[in-house]
Symmetry: C2
């Protein structure tokens, strides 16, 4: 089958999602949904995909998508996804607010059951593929501690959170690993004219995204901002412990990647899984640790078993 | 619930399986099935678990196990598992003969449907957890090549295959990574009295386990054999490629482990998954890429989502 995918939002992730869908061997992007006032803008990012001011307009023109990639800022994701799910559309998102994870899984689960649809949430790299690795590592080595060491790189979630602080015109947040799963945050801020940097610093420090880590906030100009950070990122996941009664079992996962490109790719791979789960009438909400990995890959199950197992 | 697990076979993996079950927080080993002539031997390896000459004897004494860990040499696994599945018992095994994988998944699938049971096959680290990683890596970075670099360490599958060669009293096969997913095999052989080492070399070289790799066979005495290899092993899984249209995405998994201890632990974690799949009446055969990772972990789904996602 050829999967028909829609993209909601043409921000950092949405743009990469459109690119990624261009290369999807078994699917295509049938349209982008964005704010009506943005229609027609950023034609290069649209890559010849039509854009629409609402999901209803997209459906009227292109038919129903098999799945919608919800590429909004995390705080807007649950509301947008719920609405789509109730209307019977499968959704995939990279919601990343850890403290609200089970609440969002529950909410999307109810909406998905109501619409007889499937939601895959937290489908990025952390949460997402890192979550799968943490689960797999615990199944392999149940006694021990996993350290998730992020970076060095720009955190999209933290950057968006910093930009939402009053007085901030633009911002970029860099995550620096300190070892042992601890991190510091280095936030470059372009203040709005007349804004007080001390107030901005205090507001960032109080935000849930930043409250638990060492923080440094640096003021930069709008012209400097593009040169202090790019999309490079990575993670080192480490687990040392025991399998059964046997200690000294060492597991390490080290990844160096373009951040939004990987997030967009995982959204697309999970869209494949979402549609397949709906075909089995396995309606509801899932995270990546809840889905069989084979469902994310193109091709038939048995050919992937033959190739990968 | 407390999972009741039986272990079939008390070889290298079976012994570690008994140990691992001793530490399983939500289950226990209710018995070991072994050849009647072995009953009562290796009391230390049994760790106070009762042993039985047949699964029927085990069931008569202990009741039905929720799952049986089939810890036989790979070539005997499909036959043993089929019989258990037809009798309605869930099985987990670490069958590792790649060329026969889809045939065995099919065979166990038929038997499992007949017995309304669940089989998880190829549940070790390769095939097994490495298979999950290869699938996940492809979902993250669809364009590219994954190299699986084994070792340096003793391959249990290759050692068993070498021991089955006529004229071989005992043998150990060491896997040495050559880079780019290529390996050489170093086989230490204790010949039977009067056996011809040249014939043994030729027979090993012709065996399906060894036919495709550079091979060196060295003759050792029975006294020397325990000192040329232990249970240390590992793997380096490497993938470089593109997510969507974005190249230079680097994924690396590096693991250094006690080989049978990890295999036994994965069998135990998959036993948990098998019983849960049967509870959902999802009868049939599975490999590790076919199962949601969360099913392998103790505890409720939502508490693991809260902890790991």
């Amino acid at each position: 089958m050829s999967f028909k995918i829609a993209v909601m939002g043409l921000g950092n992730i949405g743009r990469f999602a459109v690119e990624t869908l261009e290369k999807m061997p078994d699917g295509e992007c049938i349209g982008v949904v964005r704010r009506p006032e943005s229609l027609g803008r950023n034609a290069i990012s649209l890559r010849n995909v039509p854009d629409f001011g609402s999901i209803q307009d997209l459906i009227s023109a292109q038919g129903r998508p098999d799945a919608v990639l919800v590429c909004a800022p995390s705080r807007e994701v649950p509301g947008q996804a719920e609405e789509l799910l109730r209307a019977g559309l499968c959704t995939v998102d990279s919601f990343d607010i850890h403290a609200r994870m089970t609440e969002v899984v529950d909410r999307l689960g109810s909406a998905a059951l109501e619409g007889k649809a499937v939601a895959i949430t937290a489908a990025g790299w952390d949460p997402g593929s890192d979550s799968v690795l943490r689960a797999l590592f615990e199944a392999m080595v149940p006694s021990g501690v996993t350290f998730t060491n992020f970076g060095r790189g720009r955190s999209m979630g933290h950057s968006v959170a910093a930009r939402a602080i009053p007085g901030v015109a633009d911002a970029t947040s860099i995550t620096i690993p300190l070892g042992g799963g601890r991190h510091s945050r280095l936030v470059y801020v372009v203040p709005e004219e007349g804004a007080c940097m001390d107030k901005i610093r205090a507001a960032i420090a109080a935000d849930a995204y930043f409250a638990s880590d060492p923080l440094e906030v640096r003021e930069v100009t709008a012209a400097e901002l593009p040169f202090v950070a790019d999309a490079s990122h990575g993670v080192l996941l480490e687990r040392v412990g025991a399998s059964g009664l046997t200690s000294n079992q060492h597991l390490n996962f080290d990844m160096r990647i373009n951040n939004p490109a990987l997030t967009a790719q995982i959204l697309v791979s999970c869209a494949r899984a979402a549609v397949r789960l709906r075909e089995k009438e396995a309606f509801g909400s899932y995270t990546m640790i809840d889905i069989p990995p084979v469902l994310m890959l193109p091709g038939e199950r048995m050919s992937n078993v033959a190739r990968l197992v």
